[in-house]
Symmetry: D2
Subunit: 338 residues, 4 copies
């Protein structure tokens, strides 16, 4: 860490902070600039936060040199993590597409969708049985009954199941049926839940919170990795900005940024990331070109009658056309559609 002192910090204040740095077990190194003094703290560990130094007397700012995450970092594990579970393989040049409706409505529907998206090129099935809804008055999902329908869809098609889990006490139930446990954006910093899925036997798809920084996303992944579950997939699904013409703003530069920082695979959700059906196909293609390891896309046979999220679903024909373009783009950027 670099402790930057205020202009005019006294010798006593500097000495005091040197003592504080050394009390953290770090070596200190004072540099007297022409206008300010800085103290380099050598030996910084990732577990140390800069907080304890920031409120010291005469301190202007504390600049950490190390990223706060460790196990998720490419510095620690340079080779890419490939997450494979059933039909789904993501990372290390392998590309996958997870598609399906927002929520399980009935068994016939989910089997039908699974067949359709598989035929079009999907390698995983997404669908919610537990639904987090902004309003207490909205449909909240079919819960275990829905999970059973998803298992049937897997039996019929072989597609790996990706489905959300919302609470620590539901983890073992959901993990009985799912190949990948999805942590929704609203729960990215629900630490009890992260610990619970860190102990589950399934892979985890961790969605970025809509105002989470990259460090916060990687530290959330660290909570899971830390418990021993190494199969974590990161998901960019859009952030809250001043832009109101899309439901969220989809910042695709996260993809190459994350690829430089972490070995974990990264998928993009252009459905939530835009919130409008007509924007999804182009943003799916752009996501592939940005270097993502996969896509997660909402598909419904008749979006107009969907019990949730119809405004951002593709129908079968739209999904097929999107997959056609995405496969050409994947080939153009050297990805293997797994």
């Amino acid at each position: 860490m670099i402790v930057v002192m205020q202009k005019g910090a006294t010798a006593d204040q500097i000495q005091h902070m040197v003592g504080r740095v050394e009390a953290l077990g770090l070596k200190s190194h004072v540099i007297y600039g022409t206008e300010r003094t800085v103290i380099a703290a050598i030996g910084e560990k990732r577990e140390q936060t800069k907080e304890s130094l920031e409120s010291g007397p005469g301190v202007a700012e504390v600049v950490p040199i190390l990223a706060p995450y460790k196990v998720a970092s490419r510095e620690v594990k340079p080779e890419p993590t490939i997450v494979n579970t059933g039909s789904l393989t993501l990372g290390g040049g392998r590309f996958g597409v997870i598609a399906g409706p927002c929520s399980v409505e009935n068994e016939e529907q989910i089997v039908d969708v699974a067949r359709a998206v598989k035929a079009a090129g999907a390698t995983g099935l997404r669908c919610g049985a537990f639904k987090p809804r902004t309003s207490p008055y909205s449909f909240q999902g079919h819960k275990e009954l829905g999970l059973k329908m998803l298992a049937t869809a897997r039996d019929e098609t072989g597609l790996a199941i990706v489905t959300e889990v919302m609470s620590p006490e539901d983890v073992s139930l959901v993990a009985k049926y799912a190949d990948v446990l999805q942590i929704g954006a609203r729960n990215m910093q629900n630490y009890r839940l992260l610990e619970a899925v860190g102990n589950a036997p399934a892979a985890v798809l961790l969605k970025r919170g809509p105002c989470a920084t990259m460090d916060e996303l990687l530290l959330a992944a660290e909570y899971i990795l830390n418990e021993g579950n190494a199969r974590v997939i990161l998901c960019e699904r859009g952030i809250r900005t001043f832009e109101a013409h899309t439901r969220f703003t989809l910042p695709l530069a996260s993809v190459p940024y994350l690829r430089h920082r972490t070995h974990l695979p990264i998928v993009v959700d252009p459905s939530h990331g835009t919130g409008h059906t007509y924007l999804v196909p182009d943003m799916a293609a752009a996501s592939v070109a940005s270097g993502a390891d996969g896509l997660i896309i909402e598909v419904h046979p008749t979006p107009e009658t969907a019990m949730s999220d119809g405004y951002q679903c593709l129908n079968y024909a739209q999904f097929q056309a999107t997959m056609d373009v995405c496969q050409r783009v994947a080939a153009a950027v050297g990805k293997i559609w797994a």
Copy 2:
């Protein structure tokens, strides 16, 4: 709701949407403008979301007329809700201050802080026993042991206890000790947790998520109210914006905005809302002037050695000075310091 059709929408599409509106149990009323057609849907209920209409053929946009929350609304309950629990009274012109350290460190400390903040004018004690931390490597709190120390501090000073609960399974434990259950910003949309505190015997302080809209905040309150717990306090604690000179951006216009929309009391957290000790006193005063019903402020005897959040704590002298100004401002705007 108003369904706005695209320019060039066909008669068939308009007719189709009229059918969809009526299938929702609403009366439809078509208005043919010079460039576009709109369909007014009369009889809208708050429980209906606009989602199901948005993906209809030829639809440009759906504009809801009613706010999505109900029980939290001033339209439903015009008179202000006053939350009283022990020493703390907030709302309806009564003003309170909840102060204390970020986390319980030991019994001596918390009793000492409780005495100091009470002497300076605080009417409640805030302090965390369960700590949500961005990094899995940071101090996570003393848990039940911490709750017991808080109970001791209440016994010694009479101050009502405000403390965070992070998981549904901890609610009954925390409610045994706390007067007010705090829902942290990261958990504002943890719906299982909201339902759990909605069934608890304590009041609830609900912090706004850093990228939550006002509607989302009020719908989160609605989850709690809906379960039967009417004692909900809203808390503005800052939002994520492009501004990096403060940890969060504190948008005080939320206070008068919320006062016009909801009967629930509103407190402001200038500590998290700015993230820097030197900005807290002025923003505390500004919060009072904005019409807030209370403040929640981090205070620590020696912020430099705090186990968390020292960079945004006031020490005793700073807190005393802040209370002095705030009491004058409260008088200037006609609030009764309860």
Copy 3:
């Protein structure tokens, strides 16, 4: 427009607003809902703003039905505008790449860059002679001398010149040398400048301001179109958000959004849009896949010694590799590299 009255608005207030609507030359149509009354104002013109109705007594909200821009709109001109000037053709399926250094440093350099980028596939040369700089202490450009060097580079390579103009009084000078006048992001709402380039004989590349909405961007274009200059190119170059790991956040969904709303061509600037060299190649490819009509990219022979913006420049080898991928992606999405 739809005038939404507050719950409890009186008959007098409703009558008053009907009068106000009719005074604007519009037909009014009152709809009495179960909880609120709305007044549809039929015959709305784009020139009318909703402002004058919003402060009426008992009014909750005014919802415009028409977009505020007209000449830029696809509703008015459905077929795409193709901007052709010298070597550069953008729009209607034709794709172009404008590349070059941030600022003209000397004649030898700019001619060298022009040859290199042309060889790699660029169809236009970008370079600044007038430089808007955040700090008054930074290098401000070579001005007319720089323009002459750009003209030499065009003579040597045939590449169309894209260069910024910062002030109305410089427009005729810059237009003597440039094929395309660039309006920088900071000047997107400098209305005197927009009017000036609206009267110039050159095409205009209008950069989106970092916090401009889509409506504001299209209204800025409207200022130019309104003066008679129909050759306007829109440029997405990133917005200000809470994300700090990139200099700006590049929201590629603007590309399909704009394509649905306007006939004008849209280019993307992944250099400013990310602010880091290592993110530019992937975001260039993603921009092509999103459906953009072109790219504008910073290229410098030795970025480390560039007089400005070196941190986001590609060197020749990086640019060549980027063009290779982009050409494959362009083919995959059916664009003709012009």
Copy 4:
């Protein structure tokens, strides 16, 4: 500056960067940490940007130690600047209120408003003769004719005139009539205009751009100060964020932040900062409590008929009530209403 090298940076890269630092005339000091190496560059000048080092080989990041602005800084001039012009005095504990309509509509109106706001406590008159409008179809102001009406209002009431100038070529004309030249938010980085007002005989009120950082605001002030005009007033008027319930988000923590960084006076605009009449009074009071040196508020005799911005204007009675509260709050925080 601190140059942070990437993990694994080679000895050659470190040596290369030492050479680059020294080529800037700085002394270098290499610190070998346990995981990374950093190079302290001693002797940094404010004029130097970090840009030229950021693209060096093996560089992870460059952290500047000095703020980029100089003349505006409290480090250079610790005592507050008091701007006095005619009836208006701002800074150093003196508080002023600039009030008036968005645009001059006619002479009778502006004289009437001037009398009313003066009676209620205003010490300056704000009003636009040149109006920057988002849409080319909106009313653009009465220009010189409007300026003459403003001069009449000053003759009648003695109030100092604050009015916007939009283009360098208008500066001398506007300065003939105005006491304070206002630079609008859209023009905060219109550098030619900043230079022009830097050479004008009037004081300048510089509005923060809606996505400008504090450094950018202070560097814009630096452009003006640098030309020799020392009478610069900063104005916080709200930023663009995801919040849609207000037109802009008003981040009052700017006030104490700026007071710690700069000696220039700071005023707040709660009218544009909220965009809704009903939020203005509380935010005006909050601005005073935050430590601002003044307010700028839109007032119109009949907001509903205003030619612009009626939705955020106070009428006379609302303004009077707001001034009453603000004067009590100003007394509570120790400001002298000048």
